[in-house]
Point group: C4
Chain length 500, copies 4
């Protein structure tokens, strides 16, 4: 019909492993030869063989993916979408319940802190998206420890300080920011919001904080840079490719586009096994799938594994000078986890490190960043090195008090990731905006209450970290029989009618 355009019927014939075409954003592609190379496995593509795969494709792939990775000979051209049969979706009671929850969402103003966004997101996000964002390594003990480690640190606030004017602006790698946090890099933003990472770009602009652009964004790098406004500052988070030429191109492009910092991820030579993520994928595919069928086991291990096969596990200290040679951007190592490696980073002349265990998504039982910070800073100070490098932390920051504890201990700033994803997934940009504003409200209040008028007044005498130095305590497992035999005390009883 429409001249030169393929029809849905044309594409539909190529619906097998032998000849597999798919439609993405109104264009058809022949992915038959690509099937075995697909990092996410063949199965998920074959599910859409001969059909429109846009909805599944979008959150996982930046829009320039097909141009970059599929030879142009496989680009079959435009499809007349009017001729493509729209598949009626089977009634999914779980999805219907989710839609009902979305209709009854709490108003944004009912979110009073960053945890509230997580609670809302858990109810309104698609299960697979929730599983990808919220999952951690193994038993997710590390992920939870990240936040609860802050609870071991208590304040020693000073009173009778004139705190009429409090100023919590600071600088990060030379950039002035309104508050000492940055939006750290997190992958696959479109899983939570159809616009993806650019939502965070806009919110970061409005609150004058830095955004770190993730290698594994759903939006393309250029889309995210294009979304910045004025003198807004962005950094680049980098997974180093096995092919250093690609890596060099990415770095040089980022520098050209104005990025002001290069954050090299060093805690993820292989992306983590995250069972919540794996299990959500599994359910998705139906419980009849057995591990032994055509596809290899590795391919169904969740989004994390699917998108990370290019990462170079051989990256090592000896590569650092090369990075220093290809860019003038300040270099920061993201994912340092013990004092020995911080010292080495200083010796290598990098500008900063992010103490991080990758949000508890990589090595289970990696210590929380704030605990490592408490180990690192005294050693740096003992050597007089505390100003030779900027120390950042990320992981588990949910409250201004968390941020303040890190700053008292000596961090230059903190990265926050998941909470903004949850805010964005639940309420879009307005959610992220409110989340950032809540942090500022808390920060102003708590600067006053701790008795500090500016960031430079925060110091380690203001925190009690004895709870950190005792190590990771477990308690003796419970004595089931006697605890159950115990008859707990009762409060005064209301008459029975009161219970009706």
């Amino acid at each position: 019909m429409s001249k030169g355009k393929l029809t849905g019927a044309d594409v539909a014939q190529h619906n097998s492993r032998e000849s597999c075409w798919v439609i993405v954003h109104g264009k058809a592609y022949d992915v038959t030869e690509f099937l075995p190379e697909h990092p996410g496995g063949q199965k998920i593509i074959l599910k859409y063989a001969g059909k429109d795969a846009t909805e599944e494709f979008d959150p996982i792939h930046p829009p320039d993916t097909l141009d970059k990775y599929l030879d142009s000979s496989k680009h079959l051209g435009a499809v007349d979408m009017a001729t493509v049969e729209v598949e009626e979706k089977a009634h999914d009671p779980e999805e219907a319940a989710r839609q009902e929850r979305i209709k009854n969402m709490p108003p944004l103003a009912a979110c009073y802190n960053l945890m509230d966004f997580e609670t809302v997101a858990r109810s309104v996000m698609k299960n697979t998206a929730w599983a990808y964002y919220s999952s951690g390594a193994d038993d997710e003990i590390t992920m939870r420890e990240n936040h609860s480690a802050f609870h071991k640190i208590w304040f020693r606030p000073r009173i009778l300080v004139d705190v009429e004017n409090v100023d919590f602006t600071t600088t990060m790698l030379g950039t002035p920011v309104s508050i000492p946090f940055y939006v750290t890099a997190t992958a696959l933003g479109k899983l939570g919001n159809p616009e993806g990472e650019v939502v965070l770009t806009r919110a970061a602009h409005d609150h004058n904080v830095v955004q770190m652009i993730p290698t594994l964004a759903s939006c393309s790098f250029d889309e995210i840079v294009d979304a910045k406004r004025g003198d807004q500052v962005q950094w680049l988070q980098l997974y180093v490719n096995k092919d250093r030429a690609i890596t060099q191109r990415i770095i040089e492009h980022a520098e050209k586009r104005g990025c002001k910092g290069l954050f090299i991820t060093v805690d993820a030579p292989q992306l983590g096994r995250r069972e919540k993520d794996m299990r959500s994928k599994f359910s998705d595919a139906g419980s009849s799938v057995q591990a032994s069928d055509g596809d290899s086991v590795d391919r169904s291990q969740g989004a994390a594994r699917a998108i990370s096969s290019f990462i170079d596990p051989s990256l090592s200290w000896k590569d650092i000078p090369w990075f220093q040679s290809v860019t003038k951007m300040p270099i920061v190592l993201k994912g340092v986890q013990c004092v020995e490696d911080v010292l080495r980073a200083v010796e290598m002349g990098v500008q900063g490190v992010v103490l991080s265990n990758h949000g508890g998504r990589q090595l289970e039982f990696a210590r929380s960043a704030v605990e490592v910070l408490a180990e690192v800073m005294p050693v740096l100070r003992a050597r007089g090195w505390e100003n030779k490098i900027e120390i950042y932390i990320d992981g588990g920051i949910r409250r201004a008090t968390d941020m303040l504890k890190a700053l008292c201990l000596g961090a230059k700033g903190v990265g926050i990731g998941r909470p903004f994803l949850y805010a964005m997934s639940s309420y879009g940009q307005a959610g992220v905006d409110r989340a950032m504003q809540l942090l500022k409200d808390e920060m102003e209040m708590n600067m006053r209450l701790i008795g500090a008028t500016k960031i430079s007044e925060l110091n380690s005498s203001m925190v009690d970290v004895r709870g950190l130095t005792g190590g990771h305590n477990g308690v003796v497992p419970q004595d089931t029989l006697s605890l159950r035999a115990y008859d707990p005390l009762q409060a005064p009883r209301f008459n029975e009618k009161a219970k009706l």
Copy 2:
């Protein structure tokens, strides 16, 4: 009709932002111009525009508020209340349930300890009042820590001491009291009881303990002083006003009316964000309200923020000599939180400090007063300063054992606040009376059991505080999968019929 009196219809015409009249205690007021200045926001006033606002007004404002803060030209005179339409309240199933619970309340005699009053109050108080009294900062971790910190301290009781006669009278700032606690200052007493703080005045008299009068009382200062009997002693709790002239008038008036101590609050340059309080207000206003409507966000942040805008955040150590110059009352700093500031207080020559984190309502992760006490006293003793200043603590005291622990560590006395509010809100003065009597019963018993016949015999060898010195321990987050896989031991089974 009634000559010279306004009618309900007269007032009802002024029911808008443009012209806003309200009735309070039978008199009309023009608050149109005052609207933007109202610390609690315009919205709540506009809700009563053209109507009788007495019920909403009363618990939040001392009766002299309108005289003090609204120009007399806006006082429109008496209203013939017979002509005012009584609004039929919509049926509120939550309120109906509360009334049913009140009908079935446990008898007062069923309250055996201070926690029991809290349990009852939670069921019989209005939600907003409960939320205001019971809320704390952020995650309310500090608020709960205040009581649980006492559980880390254990006794080393002495035996075979003749304890036939035990005497737990003592003195506070020179005043003899029957037991070492005082009624500390808490705001907005009428939220819980229509009579407000004078209920506490009467109970304090009957039990011969000191009452500290709050700046933010629902009753006027003079009403509370008028309610005292005989040689009853009261202290003044002071939030320092930005306008020092007002502050000076308050202090001088208090001294003239016989107050015997000036407790300057130093832990609240800004009153806390208390999310339970904020959320209760929010629900009150209906879930359709969005943060972005006319009123600013700040105005709907709960009672605490609404009533505290006058507090001076610039108050500092350099103001102390001025206070000493305007009063002869002993000066006590309320809200000191670390040993350094206690030492400075001694050097400044104040008569006392209250170690306090403001009931966990201000800075989250401020340490409990009893923990700070254990840090402070050895330092004071090392300098021979332990008698140069009186040290009080408040926060979390619920049992005579809590009080005893503080006294063993060196406190002169303890302040108790919320428990008396809960007792008063549930059972009126009889409740407060019983609460105080229970503390005396426990105190007599426990003095005997610890082996002390008078307060001066309590000393630090009688407590084991090792649990405090280890810092704030968290435990490793739970191992969900294996804990759930574990099959707990079962007690012997009764035959099934026994379960029917």
Copy 3:
């Protein structure tokens, strides 16, 4: 009718405060004048004025009580019980449910450990009896700590020791016993079993362990002594009476009847407030009772207070020589709670001490006996005094491992109380017998597993007590919002049908 006998009608006329007769075991008594002196309050007697009070009287009073404490002029003589109207008991659904549970009790053989008896007893005992036995001081934290303190102590067992023959006999105050525990004194045995303490006497005989006879037994002292067989050994637990002549008579009588040890309770100058006990009494009396009615508040504070008004709170160290002068029995101080008092006890020349906090029923936050033991023994050894005195502990012992830990630390033996009450209340003597046998089975096994063939081989290198030396740790209160937002890991799901 029956000559010389009173009739029910005769008695029934005296049913008021003005003239109050009651029937006990078929005899009438005029208690009008005694009413105000009754330690348990007037109310409970008046409930039975003019009626048969036997059922209520029995568990609380030894049979010789009326002879001892009521002048013979008030003994009105036998009543023709056929003429006494039997009151129909109102249907009590709670009691009916209890009877149903009793019918469906687990067989005795289903009890595999001492906790199992507690679980059964909780379901089959009368509520007031359960409340009296199971209650502790204040929040019952100490009561629970007593057992859980043992969980902080772990073993360092030795292997490859020839343990074919293990022998856990030992001696206590010179008496050979089959296993290092004794039946410690507990009050009011008939609350749990109509026969009372003699059940324990018989079981102690069969297992060759010592029974400590309580001052506050339901059986009379002589009944308990009469129940002993052969060369069975008993000790006397003594609450010291304000009237030392009475105390002297009790001691001399006990020595004459063959008691081999005098255990003077030193941790109870006043018996504890036990809220569970108080609350159970309160419910019993009906919720319409107010604290302000005729009877004073003190009188309704549970069984403990009612039975203990005679105890002398002035007892002190200076009384010890007097005890040594009136008896040749070894003297043991029961309820010592810190090392200083143990040293003083040695200096006073007593033969032993029981480290004890009275089962957590007296001073809340008194440390557990086993913790005090770990503090005491190294000090004794440092002075070479470890053989000058026998150290016992009680409180929380439920397993042979608990006993072994105490012995490794240096205790001569341990007292066990509540578990035998629960066993007796559930299954009578057979229950107590099984409980003791279970301890022996566990003991034999665990002696082998720890690598000791006799008691003297147990030593402090076999236990790791580091968990005790860190003090009493609390954990930071939970972070409610984020814990609830956390989405716990799921185990593999069975298909839905499996759940039906």
Copy 4:
């Protein structure tokens, strides 16, 4: 009928204590005289008197049991099974529910970690089998501590190490293995899977790990050895018999059949009381059984006691030279529990020790192996003895991180038992295979993330063990009343409809 064969009727006549025949695998046996000697008690045999006992016999007895232990004169010969009445099994609703669960089992691919197999096994195994495998000593605190002890150890991972190739092969007693775990000995494999231990043999072969053959296997020793393939290596776990001649025959036979290590169990002079196991047996026999009936109590104490009466409790250090004299296999002591005994083992010249508390099934409160390891290795290193002996641990290993922690601390390898039993019981050999593969997947990932490319690079600087050195902490028992009075924070509310 069938010549020479017995009929069911013949056998059925011998159905009493006086004459008791049973059929096992189609042959009849006269066990009348054997009844009193049966380690599992007479009752269980008498239940099958005159009947076919095969189903009950099989999991508990290796097939050569009757040949070995029953005199050939009692072997009555083959039975014509067609003539044996097949007993209709009574409908058992619990068994029916189990069969339903089995039908709805999750697919094997839904198991993502070793805990998942336990969860599945708990639902699909027979109750008695589950109780035998899953039970531990006393309150099972030790059993749970074994795994949770690993949670007190956290990593100090190194970054920027080239981990492209990671190699976690190692050797154990000279045998190269693909990963540092072995299949440790566990009893009664046929309870979980009708094929028994040979399933583990095959899986061990496929994954190139060592299997330790248990003395108490359901399969005969020779069956298990026969199942090995190629140069597969097996070890022998030995319970030492009271009759050393039997022990010697077993050892010599094992050596002849190619076993490469002799693991002498030293932590089980008597097998443990495991109440879950005992209770499951009890229920099995019906609740009318009383402990006092014909059979002695000991006989109904679960599988553990039944199968272990031959073990020699007199085994001691002086026997070690004899073992060294009768075999050339390396000797390893299994169940060492403190550093003193490790040192003695080195001095005695044995080749290895397994630090173990027998899976928490023997001495309750024996410390976890990994805690003992952290105590042992520094002492060995201080003496320069760390290479004189191989140190293994077992107990609680569920994750590759657990294994890595042990290796960092200095263990040569770890034993894993229960998880493979659960995998085998749920999914047969495929389950065990997947369990082993999951460990390898985790191991590869975590070697990379900790920054080690081979086993020899793992060292104690990579772990933070401060959590272990604080001893076994308990927390203060909860404050029931105030915790229940506390009103937890609420997340934003969805409209009510959302809940429907």
